[in-house]
Amino acid sequence: MVSVTEMQTMYEQMVTARYYEERLQEEYLVGKQPAFDISAGPIPGELHLAAGHESSGAGVCIHLRDDDTVTAPHRPHHIAIAKGVDLKKMTAEIFGRETGLCRGKGGHMHLFDPDVNFACSGIIAQGCPPAVGAAMAAKKRNTDSVAVAFLGEGAIDQGGFLESLNLAAVQDLPVVFVIEDNDWAISMPKDRVTDVEDGSRRAWGFDMPGERVDSDDAVAVYEAAEKAIMRARDGNGPSLIEVQVHRRMGHFMGDAEAYRPEADIERAKQRDSIERLADDLRAHGVEDDELDEIRERAHERVDEAIAWAKEQPEPDPSTAYENVFTNPPAQTATDGGANTSDASSDGDEGGDR
């Protein structure tokens, strides 16, 4: 059973995520107005915001420890925050700075934090096999760590996810798959791409338990996730969970959603899991003051992270040649670095290839 403290923790993570993305959105639009240019401004590239998904990240990750692994998809911020990824370094990464989690090489879709075993990536269902592998390592090493792979409902048709279910099941691995069903895969509604309304049914064909949480009620997510994660931690094998969430915005920034019925947008906006959890907290006797305090703390933390990130230095161009390998070969694979006369006069960067 969820405790009030846990509900407060989830609430804090959810409002952090929501406010974080509101702020990111502002920053993202800098330099992109009046005409939207994806490559302009301090945060270029695609940006997939998760407003409406927060209950999933919070309700699942609250059961996880730092030594548990999480892989997230292209819409990762709410999950990263709930998993405890360093917010400053994550923000610096999104701003493409040298002190970012990945030294500016990954960006918003590729946040890697080894301290809390978090990674996300940009290709559909791509994180499922590595999560299975983390679970395999835990089992081999006889620890009670678990792994969780998050994916969208659009990813349940992708081979890599389906293969992962089977591999996890046959080897009884401590891994939980969490489908975030926001009804849409970019412009494609779920019923255009699969006949199965309840994505957790995919588990049936592999003899794995599957359960759907039909609303984005963080407490309901908490309960389903608790069961699945404890099952995994106790060595009883994998599970599949589908969580109904909502996409409150376009697929990525700049998506005008011309394909999406007005009513559907309205519906997604009405049912806000954050408000619902606030009501639950109030029902449990938590005062509005306390909620305000949580929100303020969250906002402060976010503002601080963003302010910090913006002060960070841009990566030196020469660092582009670093990190291809952990153990760079003694010689370079190409004469890379010769693209600019600057770089080729710098004798150093060639070594790290």
Binding site: I38, S39, G45, K105, I124, G160, S187, A320, T334, T340
Partner: protein
């Protein structure tokens, strides 16, 4: 194979200018009207009109049966395109970003590309695989590659890379009419999208009527006598800009736009190299074991005695990094090209 040596400006000698995206779609729509067997499938190609506007308006004209959204199951639907093509239809199937090839490469290179050969010619696979390529907008290592060399290396696929609206339309007509599988790689930065501004080059005059551009004919986009620059896609425009910059300094660069990688127009390259003696190859793919190596090797095989200097610019064997300063560093820019031409000229 002698290339029809068309001046770069010639294509613009028509009133109507189109973006590359509109030129592509015009050819597709024309072929769909002519031939009921042509259909288009991919993710977000119906209502959305293609993430990079590769199918804008097609759903309205042709309906859901011929402009089909499909599940995010690239193996299944690209392989289904092969099956439909072998049954005699003419599918166009879109891989949203070329970077995603890895989830479906078996169907692409083992079925699509090889079935004609392995059946001894008793089956054909008349399909087009369209896919968006390229970087420059900071989308990092899984959304910014061109992978030109990866596709050109494996036999059985024709590989097309347009750099202008004029070429895009003609090459698309050729691709759909071709009885073989064609990989049609369009560079996002050239499509003329509102949200990702193109340089001025790719928007050209485009005839209203249908026309084809034969595969295997490179196009000399700028004639010059001092240095040969062989390139394709986005970098055609960067090379042209670099060549303009150098004009004032009396350096006269020739810019060869390959247009198709398979078949490759070796003769046009050799003719140019024989004339200039100096070869620069510019590529947006990874440097080693790819396009630049192949072009230099062909020049060395075919014109070694005429060759006095070679050089290449490409992504220096690192994944494409996210941050602007890093991506700019690894993706050859106009200045890099100008500097390299200058160096070769010395």
């Amino acid at each position: 194979m002698a290339t029809e040596s068309r001046d770069y400006t010639e294509a613009t000698e028509t009133d109507r200018e189109l973006t590359m995206s509109r030129a592509m779609v015009e050819a597709i729509a024309w072929e769909m009207r002519e031939n009921e067997e042509v259909f288009y499938m991919g993710e977000d190609v119906a209502d959305y009109g293609g993430i990079f506007s590769s199918t804008t308006g097609l759903l309205d004209e042709f309906g859901r049966d011929r402009v089909m959204d499909v599940p995010i199951s690239e193996t299944a639907y690209l392989g289904a395109a092969v099956g439909a093509a072998q049954a005699g239809m003419r599918p166009i199937a879109e891989l949203m970003f070329v970077d995603f090839f890895g989830v479906a490469m078996d169907q692409i290179y083992n079925n699509m590309a090889k079935n004609t050969y392995m059946s001894g010619g008793s089956f054909s696979v008349p399909m087009v695989l369209t896919t968006a390529v390229g970087g420059t907008y900071n989308d990092a290592g899984q959304h910014s590659q061109t992978l030109y060399g990866t596709f050109a290396h494996l036999p059985g696929m024709k590989v097309v890379v347009p750099s202008t609206a004029y070429d895009a339309k003609g090459l698309m007509h050729s691709a759909i009419r071709d009885d073989d599988p064609v990989v049609y790689m369009f560079h996002k930065r050239l499509m003329g999208l509102g949200w990702m501004p193109s340089p001025p080059g790719p928007k050209t005059g485009v005839p209203e009527e249908d026309y084809t551009i034969p595969f295997g004919e490179a196009d000399i986009k700028r004639h010059g006598s001092d240095v040969t620059v062989v390139t394709l896609g986005l970098h055609v425009h960067r090379a042209l800009d670099a060549a303009s910059q150098l004009e004032d300094d009396g350096i006269d660069a020739e810019v060869v736009d390959l247009r198709t990688l398979v078949p490759l127009d070796t003769e046009t390259i050799l003719d140019s190299v024989r004339k200039t003696g100096k070869l620069l190859v510019v590529d947006e793919d990874y440097q080693s074991f790819g396009v630049t190596g192949e072009i230099i090797a062909r020049a060395a095989e075919g014109a070694l005695d005429d060759l006095s200097a070679v050089k290449r610019l490409a992504i220096p064997d690192v994944p494409i990094p996210y941050a602007r300063s890093l991506e700019d560093e690894v993706n050859p820019g106009t200045d890099d090209i100008a500097a390299a031409i200058r160096e070769l000229h010395e």
